[in-house]
């Protein structure tokens, strides 16, 4: 059974997990908009899934592996790696420092 009500606190928590900054107004709006959608998901409670194995992939394939060799065709030069970087220095991407992980 899952709770169908999504509170503003939930939205804030989830937005943080998703690294999305939301204004207080947006949090209120999204909570309102998401609620009927989450309620819709309650439909699935009507389905008996006891003993049913989840399907994560539909290919039915297994063991799609690559040999251990260096694929020079696909490797970038430093310039290519950095070609879309908003900021770079001495071959590195740069970002403002944040707290350690």
């Amino acid at each position: 059974m899952f709770s169908n009500v999504i509170s503003e606190a939930d939205v804030l928590k989830v937005a943080k997990l998703a690294h999305i900054k939301l204004s207080p107004e947006k949090i209120v709006i999204f909570a309102k908009q998401l609620e009927p959608i989450l309620e819709y998901f309650a439909k699935l409670n009507q389905v008996n899934v006891e003993g049913v194995v989840p399907t994560y992939q539909v290919t039915g394939q297994k063991n799609i592996l690559r040999q251990d060799f260096i694929d020079t065709k696909r490797m970038f030069t430093q310039a290519q790696s950095l070609s879309n970087a908003p900021q770079s220095k001495n071959g590195f991407f740069i970002t403002k420092s944040i707290s350690k992980k």
Binding site: F2, H19, L34, V49, Y56, V58, T59, Q61, N84
Partner: protein
């Protein structure tokens, strides 16, 4: 108009010197100049001079050689801006090629545009875009459908010979229906996803969009096949689809799942779609009504699993290695990320995500069972006629419910062919879809081709009067 011709006719014409590839390119760019402002199908129009140069030097080695095409802007095309219709990737210049794009270049096709779409694939109307909505060529106050709205509108308005779209929950089929063109959602894994900006990894498919099933068959032959860069791509050999279109439909049974034709389906749409069964019956096919009781749950499993996967796929957009920051996501995209993050989060995973994947298993069984009773399933594509611009965006729940007929096929992986099957009283296109077992593209394209020999909806174009007036069908 040259662009009214089929791919086979164009290929023959080029080889017989009736016209040149340059002529085709020019006609496309003339139509773009005339109509794109009203339709807004393109995000990036490639320089005309470049296309002409390619057309001048092209070698006619494949049926697609020398033919101008467009591609949804979610495919990486080296050296060309690739945005997925989001300002997050406004300045992203792809440093590599999507496999499907590479294959088309090798075949000598000429890219002329990166097309407008719902950002990241998130939508069914091409309004969730940072580049302005795509307008329906049949009525520019209405949506073209989505998320591959740009490609569909471009084919419809004769701006390109064929297009490559991407379908995760109806994104090829929906705009095909509303723009009156033919589009193929392939079996999951039939065409490589490498280089296609991911929406939902276990749903996304890459497929052809063109005027006819035969055109789609020719494009599919070129783009299908296993790719060592995509571990989900299928090693099953690629049939010569274009040579398999001639079987008559008299051996076939068309299944009609009752639950797909209940309340909530526009009566004109219902009539037009069911008429497909009649037309095929007249050609010798059998019809069988059957039940698919899980129909009601398809939308829920799609909208739980899809956003979950997308919330993860979009985590790479942090503005450090490329692109801009996450504050540029639209509201619709943000909502999907939030739903997905929520469904995967601790305490909710079992009830939402895992449960959806379990119902998915049951759905796979249900489709398998239904397809033992018939050769293919006939289903509507959209519950309504093309809405006015702004209608769907104003109501997230309505927007969500609009995908009801096209969201069960992707979680299963089965292919579906979308094709024109009629018009509303007011001249708006209606489409139908035929869904088959895994890797039955040959069957679907065969039936589509046969159907298109018996009907002419697919031949109609919004340009018939020369300035985009909708075509009113004869009473």
């Amino acid at each position: 108009m040259l662009l009214d011709k089929s791919i086979l006719e164009l290929a023959a014409g080029l080889r017989q010197d009736e016209f040149t590839s340059v002529d085709l390119v020019n006609e496309c760019y003339d139509n773009i100049a005339k109509y794109n402002d009203k339709i807004n199908a393109f995000i990036t129009i490639l320089p005309r001079e470049t296309a002409i140069k390619q057309a001048q030097s092209v070698k006619l080695t494949s049926p697609l050689s020398g033919l101008p095409f467009v591609i949804k802007d979610c495919f990486n095309t080296s050296g060309i801006t690739t945005t997925a219709a989001s300002h997050v990737l406004k300045n992203y210049i792809a440093p590599y090629d999507a496999t499907v794009y590479k294959k088309l270049l090798t075949a000598g096709a000429i890219l002329i545009g990166k097309m407008n779409m719902d950002a990241w694939g998130h939508g069914g109307s091409s309004e969730n875009t940072d580049f302005g909505p795509v307008k329906n060529p049949w009525d520019t106050t209405r949506v073209a459908g989505g998320s591959s709205g740009g490609p569909a509108a471009a084919i419809s308005a004769r701006m390109a010979v064929f297009a490559i779209g991407e379908d995760t929950g109806g994104s090829i089929r929906n705009p095909a229906a509303w723009c009156n063109i033919t589009g193929l959602k392939v079996t999951y894994g039939r065409v490589s996803r490498y280089g296609s900006i991911a929406y939902a990894s276990s749903f996304d498919t890459v497929g052809p969009m063109a005027k006819t099933a035969q055109d789609c068959a020719i494009v599919l032959e070129t783009i299908a096949g296993v790719d060592p860069y995509d571990a989900t791509s299928s090693p099953i050999s690629v049939p010569s689809y274009s040579t398999l279109l001639n079987k008559k439909v008299s051996d076939l049974t068309i299944g009609i799942p009752d639950e797909f034709f209940q309340a909530g389906l526009d009566p004109e749409v219902k009539t037009a779609v069911l008429k497909v069964a009649e037309d095929l019956k007249n050609a010798g096919a059998k019809i069988k009504n059957l039940s698919m009781p899980l129909f009601d749950y398809g939308l829920a499993i799609y909208y739980l699993i899809g956003p979950s996967e997308t919330s993860s796929n979009l985590a790479r957009y942090d503005g450090i290695r490329y692109g801009q920051g996450r504050e540029f996501f639209t509201d619709e995209t943000t909502r999907r990320i939030l739903i997905g993050t929520y469904a995967l989060s601790a305490g909710y995973y079992d009830a939402y995500y895992k449960k959806a994947q379990q119902v998915r298993t049951l759905f796979i069984e249900e489709y398998k069972k239904a397809l033992t009773k018939c050769s293919v399933l006939l289903q509507p594509i959209t519950p309504t006629q093309p809405p006015k611009i702004g209608e769907l965006m104003s109501d997230p729940l309505q927007n969500f419910l609009a995908d009801i007929y096209t969201t069960s096929q992707n979680p299963i992986g089965v292919p579906s062919l979308a094709f024109p099957c009629g018009f509303t009283k007011t001249g708006l296109p209606i489409g139908a879809q035929l869904v088959g077992p895994m890797f039955s593209e040959d069957l679907l394209l065969n039936i589509g081709y046969q159907y298109q020999q018996l009907t002419d909806n697919h031949l109609k174009s919004p340009l018939s009067k020369g300035d985009l007036e909708g075509l009113k069908p004869k009473p």
